[in-house]
């Protein structure tokens, strides 16, 4: 048999493969792994969102909108007072919300808000870098 005849024949033979008896079982296994990986991703995103939200709310309760008389003109003072009032009401609402979830007294150690923010950002960047490394190895 010449190579011209044989090469297409071998390609045809390779493209033919019998349907395996356990194909549905295999497909179910793949679907289960897909489901579990998407669940892990959802949980991770939810946790990250919750942590970020809690930090943001705690930080917002500490914002001070008070403007001194010397620094602000009349209109600015009016805006400042409005913001102060709004901030106070948001603070009390947020505080009661945190109390409801038992998070009002959560202590994040001696770290300040910005330090925590940069820590979280660093961790996320490290995670992203690890992901990129893994992807580059797989491709």
């Amino acid at each position: 048999m010449s190579s011209d005849e044989f090469d297409p024949m071998i390609e045809r033979l390779f493209s033919r493969s019998p349907q395996m008896a356990d194909a549905p079982l295999f497909a179910a296994g793949v679907e289960a792994r897909l489901k579990s990986s998407s669940r892990v991703r959802t949980v991770a995103l939810t946790v990250a969102g919750l942590v970020g939200g809690v930090i943001a709310v705690r930080e917002s309760t500490a914002v001070d909108f008070t403007l001194s008389d010397a620094e602000a003109p009349v209109a600015g003072r009016a805006i400042g007072q409005g913001l102060e009032a709004a901030s106070l009401s948001v603070q009390s609402a947020a505080q009661s919300g945190l109390q409801t979830f038992g998070l009002a007294d959560v202590s994040l150690g001696s770290l300040g808000g910005m330090q925590l923010f940069w820590l979280c950002a660093g961790a996320l960047i490290a995670l992203a870098a690890a992901g990129v490394m893994k992807l580059s190895q797989e491709v």
């Binding site: 090469d7 024949m9 033979l13 493969s17 395996m20 194909a23 295999f26 793949v30 998407s38 797989e138």
Partner: protein, 187 residues
Amino acid sequence: MAQSLLDRHDVELAALAAAGGRREFGELVRRHSSAVRALLRRMGAQPSEADDVAQDAFLQAFEKCAEFRGEGTFAGWVKRIAARLYLKRKAKDSRYVAELEPEQGESVTPQDAAGRVDLDEALNSLSEIERLCVSLCHGAGLSHAEIASAMNLPLGTVKSHVKRGLDKLRARLSPDGERSGRAAHVV
């Protein structure tokens, strides 16, 4: 009425899977898993290993589904992913580095009485490296250069493995395969 999954074309299902459709992707897996698993076994993987790699390949295919544009077949696309994953796994074992020389004195497996062409049996007569190169080239559709790069082998070595493997397969699979197969051993 919504179109049944069974009626949809692979490209359509892949597009829906790329948008997060797990059911659609499941249908693609049902359609093509046997071909992918068979290729991995033909490459020399044990059945359980072949299934592991095939699963990983399908998971990776789901992640990259948006990259499939229907230029080739979906099965061919996943086969290439699976072949590369298998090679990566083998490279970790670094088994094929030590197996560059073809094995000598392989047993001759006769074709069955009806003369049925049995690729899987014929592949058993090849050395592991020949089998891998031939399967990658003709089963997964990788070029010689791609195989050389993936296996970290010189291009010429890959070409000679493919050629030697095909010569052996031709000897087995051609109508007078038995005689030519034996003649090859005598020479």
